[in-house]
Amino acid sequence: MKNLYLIFFVFILTYACKEKKYQEELTKFRYFLAPDTTLPKVTLIIPLQGCSGCVHACLDFAKKYQSERHIKFIICNGSRKEINLKLKAFEINAAKISIDNDSYFQESGFIHTHPVLIYSKNNRIQEIRELVPDNINQSLAGIEKYLEDS
């Protein structure tokens, strides 16, 4: 019986920590989205400066899935000219994505030099993953599967 309580306690603690873990990020994310917006299931934040291979892989992905309503694409860390040229080169419709003109995600410490993938469910952040060369292909392939399953 004691063990059962212990397991239950650990479970609650783990869950509570997880919720708390993304609280700060959730606040920052909501600030950008506007407080009453429903969190998209998947958000891909793409900083144009940084790992160029990662950025290209994400822009290729955005080109393919720009009309997918459960995915939000946010482009950041680029000048107006650079963003426009990149969108044109990757055939991405500017109306279908968001642009962080004020470097909000960078200045709030949300992103650094790699793209960031956010999984959300029921208006809560489930996972935040930085996309680096050794996980990017697998992560992008995983988005499609996540949308099918959720």
Binding site: S52, S79, K81, A89, Q106, E107, G109, H112
Partner: protein
Amino acid sequence: MKAISTFFLLLLCHSCKLPSEKMSGEEITNEGLFDKRNQKSEKQYTLEVSKIVDIPVDTNSLNHSIYPVYYDDISTGRQYFVNGNSFLNSIDFYDIDSKKLSRRMMFPKEGPQGINPTTAFFIKSLDSIYIQAKPLTCYVVDSSGKIRSKANFPKSYAYSLNIGHNSLFFVRNDTAYYPFCGYVSSDKLAGGASGRYLSLKDNKVGYAGVNYPTFFRGNYAAAHHYMPHITYNGQDIVTQFGISSGVYTYNISTGQTQTYNLRSRYQKKVIPFTTGVSKTRDLDPAYEGTVKDNYYAIFYDKYRKIYYSFFRQGVAQKNPNTGKEQDFEDQPMSVIIADEHFRYMGETLLEPYKYFNNFVVSREGLMITNGHIKDKNVPEDKISFTLFKLEEVRE
């Protein structure tokens, strides 16, 4: 017989003795490097601003490069800043003296003559341009852009060649040399070769370059701290890692390596590895990239036979005045000048928030692009450089 043995022993001892400024290979620890004093050159220098070079760019071109290349055409006397334009899939030659786009080589993205992207390249001559494109193919093109030959890395090399604006690949004879990093972890890379070569003659791939330091073993660092930065001095691959003041040379002909110390005067303590993690992904990139110092790049200046090593000083994660998060672009940067024996010749702290990370060694001096990434008012219709020249410091 005894005399012969003594002579042989003496000879052996002498041959094993290294000159004082060099150290034995990759065995020295990071702490050992930090504790070692720099060898100093008799004369000390600083970098002085000489002039600003502004080159107009068109609406399809950026005011910076992800892979800046300098080409000195000795047959015509012209010098060029050369940039791969990913939007047009071209290689653009900007004449530094006339300040004009003088040549644009366009490439189809697909088909038998297709190359994509054209952003990373080495110019041996206008008739021998080596373009490192996806997927892991190196093309040799002539002055008309026609592919003359190509060679491929195996698929397992995807994301393993660490070329970029602060670490350019180079070609010697018909072999291309690259910094290599498998994005695994500093622990796993320890002791393995930090470079690879690709022969354009027979498509042979092999190891080249100094081994990753053994002090990486059992330690974890963020990628920017363990990825090798290389420069070529005509004989050696010169390598630096972000976490250490060590400079390593690898002689391509003999395979001999040497270790030197070239510490920034702004490095106040050993750049620590991170404890309590078992893989690179567990590291906090905000902390690693902001708070810790970083040896960012090293470039050889063949005109003056010196090196420029770029050092970034760690800063607090939050700006104490504004409370805003900081990142590595907030780090002050200095340029260490060293002679060909890696003796410290001086160090210049660059004006903060003024420059972008494009460094070009030209006939006249060191060129660094103007326009900090956090400055929203940088003009986008021109690429602007500050030309720095060496100035002797007289006390």
